[in-house]
């Protein structure tokens, strides 16, 4: 009867051994999955930079394309993307953040609100080329804006709004409710509370979402195919009614449509695009981590 008290703790029963083995194998499998997923990302970055950096020069970045884009620079594409991004931001940010504020601070819990949420989920899922069709149908043709920065920006903006709404709403909801209650209890109105307490605290999160949303918009090709992108336009756009070149479209064209295109230039364009993406991501990450460190709640 002394057996139960003297159960040896050194010898593991077979069950535990098997359980541990399963766990080890399982962990190995998961680690493998992570490695398989992540290694290509690093490889992509290294590969593009190693092939493309040689093509980067001041001339490449600031000159107009020549010889059917086989030589010269990509300046108009850079400028075009720049203007498109700003145009998208000007439209998408107020609408997106406004909608997020509505959903987080004002919206009652009823069927209309649920409909709005479903609409947002749907907007987020619509294929980018369908946005291109829509932009073509409404902005280019019906409203007669033509192939223009205006049409392109409007199309990209509607595509970006759902992204901004969801990240902004998350940032707003993360602000503790107790702040709102305190503000109301000292006689603040709802908007005063939002403007003075909630919004400033949610700002880093909102900013991160905006940056990532605009980054995606800047990299999209399908929505701008029929709404703004120009094939070979060696001059800068002079108004929002002009068509323009754009970086992602440019990369697409020179890698598929131009015979005899020097590979170096293709990689060079890819480098510019990749640097842009890396840059935006880094800015977003920095904002996020600084905000986390400075948070007062």
């Amino acid at each position: 009867m002394t057996d139960s008290a003297s159960t040896p703790s050194k010898a593991k029963p077979r069950n535990t051994k098997r359980r541990n083995l399963i766990q080890r194998l399982g962990y190995a499998g998961l680690i493998l999955a992570a490695i398989i997923t992540v290694t290509p990302i690093i490889l992509i970055v290294v590969y593009i930079y190693s092939r493309g950096l040689p093509a980067i020069s001041l001339e490449f970045l600031t000159a107009m394309p020549k010889d059917g884009m086989r030589a010269g620079g990509i300046f108009p594409a850079i400028v075009g993307t720049f203007w498109l991004t700003i145009g998208t931001g000007v439209i998408a940010v107020p609408l997106g953040v406004g909608a997020a504020i509505y959903l987080s601070e004002y919206a009652p819990d009823n069927r209309w609100t649920r409909t709005i949420r479903i609409a947002i989920i749907n907007l987020a899922g619509i294929p980018s080329v369908v946005y291109g069709l829509f932009g073509l149908g409404l902005f280019v043709l019906f409203l007669h804006f033509g192939t223009s920065i205006l049409a392109g920006s409007l199309t990209l903006a509607i595509m970006t709004i759902p992204v901004i709404i969801s990240t902004s709403e998350e940032a707003l909801r993360a602000v503790p409710n107790s702040f709102r209650v305190v503000s109301i209890s000292v006689g603040g109105t709802r908007w005063q509370t939002i403007r003075r307490v909630v919004l400033p605290q949610a700002l880093p999160g909102i900013l991160t979402g905006v940056i990532l949303g605009l980054e995606r918009a800047a990299g999209e090709t399908a929505p701008i195919l029929f709404t703004v992108a120009a094939f070979f336009l060696p001059r800068l756009p002079s108004s929002i009614f002009d068509a323009t070149m754009a970086l992602p479209y440019h990369l697409f064209v020179i890698s598929t449509q131009v015979p005899g295109m020097p590979v170096k230039i293709q990689y060079g364009t890819a480098v510019v695009l990749l640097t842009f993406v890396l840059g935006m991501n880094s800015v977003a990450t920095v904002i996020r981590s600084r905000a986390r460190a400075r948070r007062q709640w």
Partner: protein, 297 residues
């Protein structure tokens, strides 16, 4: 005091309008797609529309090969992306130490930010030749190549949504399981993952939605041959997706022609598909939430 009330009233109104704008956009998109695409029903007899030959120049507008092309590429991408993505998410959320997480998450976010045209670019220059050599097929531009790249685009979506969902499983669930003597592995598979089931499912559906809706990548690497895929071997032959068709052919159609209308019709099909996927995903999330509320209250 009066002026402040006015200003506040105006701002609140604008916020409310922004909130409802999402519904307006969805409706607008649907209307304009319908406007340009509904003529197809009249112009193209249904038998032709759903036939297996897509050859617009000679008047064949069968969209089945395009639908099947999209399906086969999406299935391929899903088979690759879901295991990798979910396992990666589990790894990041449950097992990875803090410093690994700090490296992995930005990397996955970087993958999410890569423009589709850049992945297509790499597909043409790197992946397609590799596929051709390794698998000994006549051309590297196949459905399989497209599936690989689409998986690359879907994985970040799956990882981030699934990881969020796993993260938000209450600590108490895990603690309870461990306290009962389960290993960490058992806890993950029997407690945490089932608890996050709806979020992971949503992640997968969003990933699938992303894959179906992708345009540029598939346009650049799947070969653009609108033939009906027959049997497993067709995975390694060129196909064409609905999205690529629109993007490739829209630039060359005459405004108002049958071809033009049919392309818009394909856009409607894509819109409806993404609508269905999103509605199902939303239904899953809502239903799970209600159940969780009942259990936890």
């Amino acid at each position: 005091m009066q002026s402040r009330n006015w200003k506040e009233f105006l701002i609140t109104r604008m916020i409310k309008v922004s909130g409802y704008s999402a519904i307006i956009f969805v409706v607008m998109i649907f209307i304009f797609l319908l406007r340009e695409g509904s003529a197809t029903i009249i112009e193209v007899p249904l038998k032709t529309l759903f036939s297996t030959r897509w050859y617009p120049i000679e008047g064949y507008f069968g969209i089945l090969p395009l639908i099947c092309g999209s399906i086969i590429v999406t299935i391929g991408a899903t088979l690759i992306a879901v295991p990798l993505g979910v396992c990666c998410a589990i790894f990041i959320a449950e097992i990875a130490p803090r410093w690994v997480r700090e490296i992995l998450k930005p990397l996955v976010e970087l993958l999410a930010g890569l423009p589709s045209v850049m992945l297509g670019f790499l597909g043409i220059l790197v992946i397609a030749p590799a596929v051709r050599q390794i698998l000994n097929v006549p051309t590297g531009l196949t459905a399989f190549t497209g599936a690989i790249l689409l998986a690359g685009m879907a994985i970040p979506t799956i990882v981030s949504v699934a990881e969020d969902s796993l993260d938000s499983v209450p600590r108490t669930y895990r603690d309870a399981a461990l306290a009962m003597g389960a290993t960490k592995w058992q806890t993950i598979w029997r407690v945490t993952l089932p608890a996050a089931r709806s979020g992971v499912l949503t992640a997968v559906m969003l990933g699938v939605g992303r894959a179906i809706g992708e345009t540029m990548t598939v346009m650049m690497v799947t070969g653009n041959a609108p033939v009906m895929p027959t049997g497993l071997g067709s995975l390694f032959r060129p196909v064409r997706t609905m999205t690529a068709t629109i993007a490739a052919e829209m630039g060359e159609v005459a405004n108002g022609s049958v071809h033009y209308h049919t392309l818009f019709f394909i856009g409607i099909v894509l819109f409806v598909i993404s609508l269905l996927i999103n509605l199902v995903a939303a239904r899953i999330v809502f239903r799970q939430q209600k159940r969780a509320e009942r259990i936890l209250s």
